[in-house]
Amino acid sequence: MSEKEVIVGRESLWTKSGRKLLRDRAGVAAMVVVGIYGIIALLVSFGVIAQDWDKLGEEGFEGMSAAHWFGTNINGQDIFARALQGIKTAFQVGVVVAISATAIGGILGAIAGYFHRTIVDEVIMWIYGCIDAIPFYLFVAAVAFALKGAEFTVPVLDLHISLAPYAMHIAMIATFWSSTCRIVRGEVIKIRGLEYIQAAKAIGVGPLTIIRRHVMPNTSHLLLVQSTIAFVGAIKSEVILTFLGLGVKEGVSWGIMLSESINDVLRGHMGNFLGASGFLFVLVIAFNMFADALQDALDPKKVSG
């Protein structure tokens, strides 16, 4: 018996997809790049590197030097350190939005699909239909209006958290879940007719248990792909929203750097623009490539070996 046959014998979707993914050279390269960004984000969060990003220098708009790799901005702050801080901000926004939006979309999608052709399905479809009708940037603006001065109170600890700075996150989650929901719903409508679901029903398993134990695990490959798409969407939206004055207000992000650079470039200082856009572009393209490779690897219809 050859080695290959042994592997085939105990192959699941995940091991097979893993092998397919590892054979995809572009996908692996993209994964490595994303991994490096992730490590930098962790190092920045734990205070290991790029901590003096807000230290004011004596001279603004310095060129590239050993001390300031990308030069300095108008306040003499080191652009390289700020760009690294931007990675942390991007991962914060991306991870929070991707996980929350995919979780909400996945759960509601599974429920809607399982209760297809009932009022539950209609109501969930109605909700995402309404959200999709409002243009994204305007929706964020509307959410920002609604959250101005709103507070989230933790009852026991007497903690008051102002919601206004999170208008961007909340609005992104509120809009991004709908595409996941639609895709998962379509898949679940297919799954719910399969024999093992029928069998579970026949032995009297409750619908919520079926959804949780038997339906949702079979949509996890879709959730994985959708969360990578949401991650990229969140990072790109952050830049635009910050430019429009609806995004990140504290700390530093690539959106803040690019907004600052609008005046810089007209005076011939490219540091901010090139620094932020370079980091942003590489991360987004790597994530896009990774998402594509993941999608191909998880698609059982694509037989590449």
């Binding site: 239909g129 309404c130 243009p135 305007l138 509307a142 959410v143 856009s277 987004v284």
Partner: protein, 333 residues
């Protein structure tokens, strides 16, 4: 007759959706929205004045009556006056909508046309080098932030660091008042300045949209290419060009035109916040941007609600148009 029935059914189906989008707008921007009393009142207002304004804005009404008041605004398209300039919202939008439309239209048409052409080209060479090259370029285009593109394009085309061909910012002014200007000259004046202001925003918008469009259109066309009728046509010896243009493209037009039609309300009404703000074009995008930064609620309310309602109407319209084009579509589908 069946088509009419279908259309009426679709319209009835849209009622909950219309109710939903207006209700969502109401909840976000009126119910939880900011209190405008003090931005309207002069300083040191008396208690009676405060009461009066609050009554006028409907803050003292119960929930359902406030919603009714909001719905009246939506139906009559009368959203009151801007809190920052005092001008009627409807007259502000009446000026801004045509500008947005003029700015967005060339980019919208070209980005879709070029997208279809590139997608046809890529799909025709599926799996080979031209396809891969187009798809890699599309992936790169999709990964570049809109803001990066507008900054770079302005630098390249509008400043002395680059080609310096076009003005940095602005919009067409009415022509200087020459008594002996002919109609042709006035037309030329508008034509010239229109393109000098619209060229760079158009290029930037095409650049950003093209990657997404090409990818979507290619997927649709490739799916169509895998169908049996294509194989049959090939077996009959129909020429490739004819298969692509006459059969595949025609069948792919349904998903393609859906995408085009449902993005139209966003293009026309919502405007393009980034481009209009960046290039100082006084369309809906810039009006909305200013309204967002100034907290000018009536304008944001009007723009959000109108776009959402138009989007829902466009969805119904596409459904009805398809029913007329393609009789295979039935209600149950």
């Amino acid at each position: 007759m069946e088509t009419l029935q279908y259309a009426i059914r679709k319209l009835i189906y849209a009622i909950p959706l219309l109710f939903g989008v207006t209700f969502l707008s109401f909840i976000l921007m009126v119910h939880f929205g900011p209190d405008l009393t003090y931005s309207i009142l002069p300083k040191s207002a008396t208690q009676e004045q405060i009461e009066e304004i609050r009554a006028e804005l409907g803050y003292d009404l119960p929930f359902l009556q406030r919603y009714g008041k909001f719905m009246k605004e939506v139906v009559t398209l009368d959203f009151g006056s801007s809190t920052s300039s005092g001008e009627k919202v409807s007259s502000i939008l009446k000026k801004a909508v045509p500008v947005s439309f003029l700015v967005a239209l060339p980019a919208f048409i070209l980005a879709n046309l070029l997208g279809i052409l590139l997608a046809l080209y890529a799909a025709n060479h599926r799996g080979r080098f031209p396809d891969k090259a187009v798809m890699v370029l599309a992936a790169i285009g999709m990964s570049i932030s809109y803001l990066m593109v507008v900054i770079a394009f302005q630098l390249i085309f509008c400043t002395s660091y680059g080609l310096n061909w076009f003005p940095v910012q602005g919009w067409v002014e009415p022509p200087p008042d020459y008594p002996d200007a002919t109609a042709g000259e006035i037309f030329y004046y508008y034509w010239y300045y229109y393109w000098s202001y619209v060229a760079v925003p158009t290029l930037a918008s095409i650049f950003v949209a093209l990657g997404y469009n090409t990818r979507f259109f290619r997927a649709v066309i490739v799916e169509e290419l895998n169908r049996d009728y294509v194989r049959t046509a090939r077996a009959y010896g129909v020429r490739n060009r004819k298969i692509m243009m006459k059969h595949v493209l025609k069948n792919a037009m349904i998903p393609i035109s859906t995408r085009i039609i449902i993005t139209l309300p966003f293009v026309v009404i919502a405007g393009n916040l980034v481009v209009e703000k960046f290039f100082g074009i006084p369309g809906v995008g810039l009006v909305t941007y200013d309204a967002i930064t100034n907290g000018d609620l009536p304008i944001v309310k009007a723009v959000v609600t109108c776009t959402a309602v138009l989007y829902v109407l466009a969805l119904i319209l596409t459904d009805i148009v398809y029913k007329i084009i393609d009789p295979r579509i039935s209600y149950s589908k």
